[in-house]
């Protein structure tokens, strides 16, 4: 993975840059010691590392504006960072960049239950947003699996999803407003406690722009009352084709579960060895969850169980109580950790039309043999968001490259069947050079034109999202 060569003129001015940043921030908010900047050398895509020039941890929006203004004036690249949980390298620094971390900004600014929103600083973690409202029975719906650690800032940058978005949508569907600072230090408010935009939908444009248009410091998020209850069922099948058909039939029957999760045999075997959730050994396992009162759940599950039973399952298990529900989710929730026990892995997140599921799984199996690398599949089946986990050995020379090559082939396949490169993790650096597979030059040009408007000098997280060759003339300007 190539990153642009650092700007020598920026590197040579490190002392002046740090000094100016210190003049607007608290002493401990500027980290420039080489040993300490290592803490910011990568995010959760740990295969790529590079310590930044320095890291800053502003305490409020005004400080963010001051930092950006200085960097803008001095021509210094900036890489925004939430909690550093990106699997796509969204927060990977370059040696000439300032890491702007929002971790210190984690306060709740306002909670309003009548109008059903919460306003937070974006360094706050996803789960602690729900934590702030759950005593009143409310929750924040998007639930990426890193929700314990990931920050709202990163959720907005990547338009993060989660297991329950079949019903509740992803970040962009739950974001009502934000405060943002552009690269030149301008502070702006977009949206608010009302719905929809009175002009162009800039809120929708900024959500998912991977920290390339501005640094979002505050967010107004929609909160919902928790459902009365939720209950999962587990079903096992002898083939992924049949499981895929069950998913389609459930959706067509008019039931809208909150989640439909899918795991294949390699993944089931790994999680069983690790978490011992008591899953059946089969080719395809589905977990389907519905919500409501007890009676409502019974009614919906009855329908779902009938559909499931008509497809000759090897196992059909309904949770009778909270304990059993937890056991059903246990394996799914520990799937990534379980795969990690076997080996290093790379997690992809291409999305495909649900109808292509059996074909794509079959092709991934064939490719696994061709590349000689094992792969397990665990994903959100209701919306076609796949998560193939390719196992490799980071200590074996050439294995990472082989794994990346395999990954790229899977993502190309996703695009070929009518899907996309990334459903919820973002492009970052990981999928940057594959963007040409999904988009024609004019499609990318239109997107880059948007960045031209917000950040004409291309200083903000510029080496991400677009193939380096495609963005070169803009970054060099």
């Amino acid at each position: 993975m190539e990153m642009p060569a650092p700007d020598a003129s920026v590197l040579s001015r490190k002392d002046q840059i740090v000094e100016r940043l210190r003049s607007v921030l608290a002493a401990d908010a500027v980290i420039s010691d080489i040993a300490e900047t290592r803490a910011y050398e990568c995010d959760a895509l740990t295969a790529y590392k590079c310590p930044p020039l320095c890291a800053v941890l502003p305490a409020n929006t005004d400080e963010v504006a001051a930092v950006l203004k200085i960097c803008h004036d001095m021509g210094v690249p900036v890489v925004p960072r939430g909690s550093g949980t990106s699997l796509a390298g969204g927060a990977l620094p370059t040696a000439d960049s300032v890491i702007l971390g929002v971790a210190k900004m984690n306060q709740v600014i306002e909670t309003n239950y009548d109008d059903r929103y919460i306003r937070v600083q974006t360094g706050r973690t996803n789960l602690s947003v729900t934590g702030a409202v759950e005593t009143n029975g409310f929750f924040y719906a998007p639930d990426p699996s890193s929700q314990l650690a990931c920050a709202i800032a990163g959720n907005i940058a990547m338009n993060s999803g989660g297991a329950h978005c079949l019903k509740y949508g992803v970040t962009t569907n739950n974001l009502m407003g934000l405060r943002m600072v552009t690269m030149d230090g301008q502070i702006m408010d977009i949206g608010g406690a009302h719905l929809d935009s009175g002009g162009l939908d800039l809120l929708g444009l900024i959500c998912g722009s991977e920290g390339q248009l501005g640094v979002v410091t505050e967010a107004t998020l929609r909160i919902l009352h928790k459902p009365e209850g939720a209950r999962p069922v587990l079903m096992g099948y002898d083939s992924s084709e049949v499981a895929g058909q069950v998913v389609t039939d459930i959706i067509k029957a008019g039931v809208l579960p909150v989640a439909i999760e899918f795991m294949d045999r390699p993944c089931i075997e790994a999680t069983e060895a690790f978490a011992k959730a008591g899953y059946p050994m089969c080719e395809a396992l589905l977990i389907v969850e519905v919500e409501g009162s007890d009676d409502e759940i019974d009614y919906q599950l009855d329908l779902i169980m009938k559909i499931a039973a008509s497809h000759n399952p090897v196992e059909l298990r309904q949770a009778k109580d909270a304990d059993e529900a937890e056991r059903i989710w246990l394996g799914r929730k520990s799937a990534f950790g379980a795969m990690g026990q076997i080996n290093d892995y790379m997690c992809l997140d291409g999305t495909i039309p649900v109808s292509s599921l059996p074909f794509v799984l079959k092709r991934i199996g064939e490719m696994s043999k061709e590349f000689g690398l094992d792969v397990g599949n665990v994903f959100h089946a209701g919306d076609g968001n796949m998560h193939p986990l390719i196992l490799f050995d980071a200590n074996k020379p050439g294995d990472l490259e082989l794994c990346e090559e395999f990954g790229a082939e899977i993502l190309k396949l996703c695009v070929e069947v009518g899907g996309c490169l990334t459903g919820e993790h973002g492009v970052g650096i990981e999928k940057r050079d594959l963007m040409n597979v999904q988009f024609d030059p004019q499609d990318l040009e239109a997107q880059m034109a948007v960045k031209d408007v917000f950040d004409p000098a291309w200083l903000l997280n510029a080496a991400k999202v677009f193939p380096l060759e495609t963005s070169r003339s803009r970054r060099a300007a």
């Binding site: 079949l166 719905l195 929708g204 009352h225 389609t248 009162s293 009676d295 990318l444």
Partner: protein, 367 residues
């Protein structure tokens, strides 16, 4: 001009030497613009429908009724419930799906499931230079690159002319129920709606009609789903709202919501029609200072439809508020769309200059 293909449309725009007035079915004459008429009605037809994947793709000029008929065959629907503006605006013609997306048109269910923009998965459009651009796709989860789908949705043809849209659809429901409260004043009604929307009982509509049908105000909460569940939740809501008076429950009441959606209450009355999106708990106080002839609240109070005396500048009376006001019908001597604060206006101008450098697509429309 009425091109029959996307390529033909692109050629027309590339070769245009003056402003173009883009239309779909011409049923929503919102905003003021001038230019040679360019209709997308010739680009028509459903190109792909996958009920099991909850997605439909259609050319921009496809009539909404065609799409709804296709979906009905599989017992599915456009869940964002696009408003039909014909009654309110006195227009004829056939609403198109491209027009719905271009104006981000939603209905009462927006409060629960999201707006048109939340269901828009992908677009193809021609920008002001005649370049064909695609963004998004036909899958429900997609964060590949910038979300230009949202930017185009609600841009009223000013950034590009839609040629194809891809939408998420949802299953139809078995039953619709309605919980009704009577005789509440605006502020109390909105408090009741907030209470319902803040409950676990999943209201999919929350409206207040101050004039009701016979002069007595009516506050309406919609519940949808399987029959047993609708009855259960309707009863729960009635209990929850006891403090607001004795609620009545009506099961099977879709028609009432069509008239809320289309703002029928204001349709045949003389005057200007304004649409205000605001924070629900501010709504009653805002309305009190407007001097409106009639109002309707939707979205739990967050959407105010106000009938104003002809020519009155509602925005001047509204003052600073959390939200925005759009002139939907009428001749008030003010901008149609809400003026943006300076930093946002600069970005909007910058984006327009990129997507339509010659300023020929519906010029002046969104001012």
């Amino acid at each position: 001009m009425k091109p029959q293909t996307e390529a033909e449309l692109a050629e027309i725009i590339a070769g245009a030497n003056g402003p173009l007035h883009i239309t779909g079915g011409s049923t929503r004459p919102i905003g003021r613009t001038k230019g040679a008429a360019l209709s997308t009605a010739g680009l028509s037809g459903v190109t792909l429908y996958e009920p099991g994947a909850l997605t439909i793709v259609a050319k921009a000029g496809t009539p909404v009724t065609t799409i709804e008929a296709e979906l009905a065959k599989e017992n599915q629907r456009l869940a964002f419930e696009p408003m039909d503006h014909r009654g309110l605006l006195g227009t004829t013609g056939e609403p198109t799906i491209g027009g719905v997306v271009a104006a981000n048109v939603s209905g009462p269910r927006r409060i629960a499931v999201g707006a048109c923009r939340d269901f828009a998965l992908g677009v193809r459009f021609v920008d002001g230079s005649g370049t064909i651009i695609k963004n998004g796709g036909r899958v429900m989860k997609n964060v590949t690159g910038y979300d230009l789908v949202k930017l185009i949705c609600g841009s009223y043809g000013t950034l590009g002319v839609l040629t194809e849209v891809s939408l998420k659809v949802l299953p139809n429901v078995e039953t619709t129920g309605c919980v009704l409260l009577h005789g509440l004043d605006d502020a109390t009604a909105i408090a009741a709606l907030s209470k319902a929307l803040g409950s676990p009982f999943e209201a999919t509509g929350a409206a207040h009609l101050p004039n009701g049908i016979d002069g007595v105000s009516v506050t309406m909460i919609r519940i949808e789903g399987f029959e047993k569940s609708v009855t259960y939740r309707a009863e729960k809501l009635r209990d929850l709202l006891k403090g607001f008076g004795e609620a009545t429950i009506r099961i099977g009441s879709e028609k009432d919501w069509a008239s809320v959606r289309d703002v029928s209450a204001l349709a045949d009355q003389k005057g200007d029609v304004w649409r205000i999106s605001t924070k629900p708990s501010d709504a009653a106080a805002l309305t009190a200072v407007l001097g409106a002839t009639a109002v309707q609240y939707d979205w739990g109070g967050g959407l105010i439809w106000a009938l104003m005396p002809e020519g009155a500048d509602l925005r001047a009376k509204l003052g600073a508020c959390d939200g925005h006001a759009t002139l939907i019908r009428g001749k008030a001597d003010t901008s149609t769309f809400h003026p943006e604060p300076a930093p946002l206006a600069a970005i909007t101008t910058g984006l327009r200059a990129k997507f339509d450098p010659r300023g020929i697509l519906n010029p002046g429309m969104m001012t």
